[in-house]
Symmetry: C2
Subunit: 582 residues, 2 copies
Amino acid sequence: MASTIPTISARYSLNAQLVKYLPIFSWLKTYSRLDFNGDLFAGIITAILLVPQGIAYAILAGLPAQMGLYASIIPTAVYALLGTSRALSVGPVSIAAIMVASALSLPEIKSLGDPGQSALILGAESGLIMLAMALTNMGSLVNFISHPVLAGFTSGAAILIILSQLPPLAGLAQPSCGIDINCYAGYVRGYNPETLSLGIISLAVLVFFGKPLTGLLKQMKTPLSLVTAISKCGPLAVIFLSTWAVTKLDLHGQHGLSIVGPVPSGFPPFAVDFLVWDKWRLLLPSAAFIGLIAYVESVAIAKVTANLRGEKIIPNQELTALGAANLATALTGGMPVAGGFSRTMVNFSAGARTQMAMLIAASLLGFAVVSCSSWFADIPKAALSAIIIIAVFRLVRIRNMIHTWNYDRGDGIAELVTLFGVLLFGIEQGIALGIVLTIASQLRKASHPHIAVLGRVPKTEHYRNVNRHSVETWHHLLLVRIDESLTFANINFVEDYLTDELTRQPNIRHVVLIFTSVSDIDTTALEALEAINQRIQASGKTLNIAEAKGPVMDKLRKTEFLEQLKPGKVFFRTEDAAKELG
Amino acid sequence: MASTIPTISARYSLNAQLVKYLPIFSWLKTYSRLDFNGDLFAGIITAILLVPQGIAYAILAGLPAQMGLYASIIPTAVYALLGTSRALSVGPVSIAAIMVASALSLPEIKSLGDPGQSALILGAESGLIMLAMALTNMGSLVNFISHPVLAGFTSGAAILIILSQLPPLAGLAQPSCGIDINCYAGYVRGYNPETLSLGIISLAVLVFFGKPLTGLLKQMKTPLSLVTAISKCGPLAVIFLSTWAVTKLDLHGQHGLSIVGPVPSGFPPFAVDFLVWDKWRLLLPSAAFIGLIAYVESVAIAKVTANLRGEKIIPNQELTALGAANLATALTGGMPVAGGFSRTMVNFSAGARTQMAMLIAASLLGFAVVSCSSWFADIPKAALSAIIIIAVFRLVRIRNMIHTWNYDRGDGIAELVTLFGVLLFGIEQGIALGIVLTIASQLRKASHPHIAVLGRVPKTEHYRNVNRHSVETWHHLLLVRIDESLTFANINFVEDYLTDELTRQPNIRHVVLIFTSVSDIDTTALEALEAINQRIQASGKTLNIAEAKGPVMDKLRKTEFLEQLKPGKVFFRTEDAAKELG
């Protein structure tokens, strides 16, 4: 019997395991009434934002409105259970939506029909990819998307989103003009006056709900929480007002203004009828990019709020949580999800203390789809376009780009290349271009190690870079310090450096390589060192080594290199080499 | 008038330019009778080797025999004019041949017909790729094929070549058994006894021409140059003997033994009728790999002989020379070319002093295709297979693999992965796998910078790693030295390191980052530092900086980071920080 009672340490480790895999338990035990008050308010505000965003982003992605709503229920709750961020609001986001739109517009995907099914596959695949990355601990691979590349990508995608929303805002038909400018002029003149008016009014209302309204309310000494609440109701207000106008004035029937159309009522269905192998294969690259971006953007957003509160985000657990959320969205008929920047900020500034806020928001969304779905049918698409435009406008960060350009020219170039890559070649091509550029520049840096020719600081046993200090040098002796481990990537640079130095100083008779910073020599570098030694000896000089670390010497002793070096020697200290050869 | 006479410096620089672009002029001016004697002998020996190799490698690639012979004439001469290696023998090689065979076996290429035309396109494309790389100075990109990956690739390709030559050696028909083992048994029993006998005798003769014959000749005190000459005639002897046997015994007509068949007589035709865009597009990836491998293998071989004589290989000029040679092979009806290891060694050890040897060999090959092509028709394919097997056998370097495995485990794994990649997934997939593995491990290394917690060496102002030296530390002060520039690739590691250290030592109040080795901070790293500072300040501690270099401080002054650090400070020396905060 006694054996069934867990010991304290076992219980402790069980607890630790639980918290590790279900981070919700890290706050649930100490959850207080005060926490709940904050979370309730934030949850309501975020839900108010989630309804218009869910519908708008689904339509941006080219999907039925309910797929955005469904994506705000179960996936949001799944992240709340598994995620390590206490404020991140996971659900439909603009960047993932445009990436889905881009994937769905591929001719080979279009030809297979049913965009909704394709979107489910994208969610499932990107979720599985994230879970696989979590299992194999590959979260750190995303370190190789630098911030400038990510910022360039986000700005480019936001510009593409805004451009994509101008036609629905003005009620323009899909153009098919090719390169005929006159045709485009006619196309633009074919705007729908009622749609455009409603779109512009929506934009104006949304702008008013920003700084003007909060400024006004603050002047009126309204309590801060109320200011937050009211100012975040802009999108909902636009939806209400514009839908009221549409029904009241019969703008849809009489003036051809586009509306969302019927949204099925009820809870998202659980289904696995999207296992169409052909589509899975074709959508794999797009799914990989969506998963990558969803993860990177979400972690970046989560870190912002975590830093403000001194909390810690665990990247690998985020991969698990976001992967599970995307798998959940596919199983419950939703579009791919990620952490949304504006929504997370609203949630945080509305006072959310834990993911309870998101559980509340998800419940409210569940309630909305069950009981209010008939209200959604008459929402005008132009109002949704206005909401999207205002939401993504702040993602185009021109000022940040100028800062980056001024701070680090290389980063500025990477940012611009990615931005224009997205605009000119497409979403996935742009980010791929940025990543390749980043890796190439990283490899370039790795192949240029720092190397210094050394001289002796007069009257000491210290040896320093001849270019930085006034030191003594020798006619026949060259002391070269290599400041990195020798690998296939940098040994050619070292070889060329030595050749140039020996051409410049033809009177050198002894070369000493100083290995203070060399902690490894790989096979390629060893073979190159053997060849360098051969060439140096062929010209009647000697190659020597000084200050090699223990492990490096152990490795070299297993080879014939030390034998080949003779009459070259291995010196313990640089001083010994200088005394004997100088 | 005076202005038309070049000054000495102008003439000198003209000369330097000439030598730079046409390296042949570096030796032509001082060319002596003695040089010619060596080159003549080496040229004849190499030509004797080129004839069977040319025919054999063309057939290995699945091409008509003459494409191997043509590839040994103009391309060899073009390299002789442009290359910086004095001993490299450029022409048909086994590895390029199997890569061509692999490309030609792609279903989409096969369906377009005429393998000869496809091979010309591969030569032209890989040549143009190499020339483009030379123009854009991208030769150093190939640093990212490490020696173990290259060795694994070569061994794998050699094993594939040997396997591919067993059926022609035994006169087996092409199998179409699928996975039916019994079928294979029947297939193997269907060998042609005459073909197999001739194949085995050929192998035996070739083995005899190796160590046994040279040992015998040395015992008989034969002059060394004669030993070299005789021992290298093995392939030609096998060709003579086996062709004689075929014609004498009518092995082709009566016993169905495969022969080369008619080879057109005359000089290679100059033609550009291979400009088929569809094929160019489909063959591009294969051509890129062939160009890459041709370049890397050729430079590796060229360096071996250059090191033995203290000469220098200029990688970028090699790209030009090999690119031009491959363009030339496409224009004159030959297969893709590269520097061959065994041929270069034969050329070198036969006494070649300059590329004159290769010009002589190319002329002899030209003579052979004009006057002897009718002799080639009856050469049995089994004899050629025997020549190929013996030639590539030494490329499977098991002992070298064991050395690499013992010397550096990571390199050993990379070598084995590439080897098995080639065997299991194919030639191009194998090398791609090796390169990706290499780059990934390089990126991994770049993301793990060396970081040390420092303490003070008692009674000095020196600060050293607490894990390596016995030093004084402080309760409230953490000194952390980061030994690399801070970039997007490694800043996450730094962040995690600091978090762990602060969790381990909760009583720390001040963190000092020591930037002695930090020569740059990129945008991503700066943003991460700002976030780290925010989190450290949120927990009531301070972040400080010490020993930042001038350029780093200049960059930081352009940002708000130094302002945000307060009350954290920037210290000039570590000593100052220790005095004030310790």
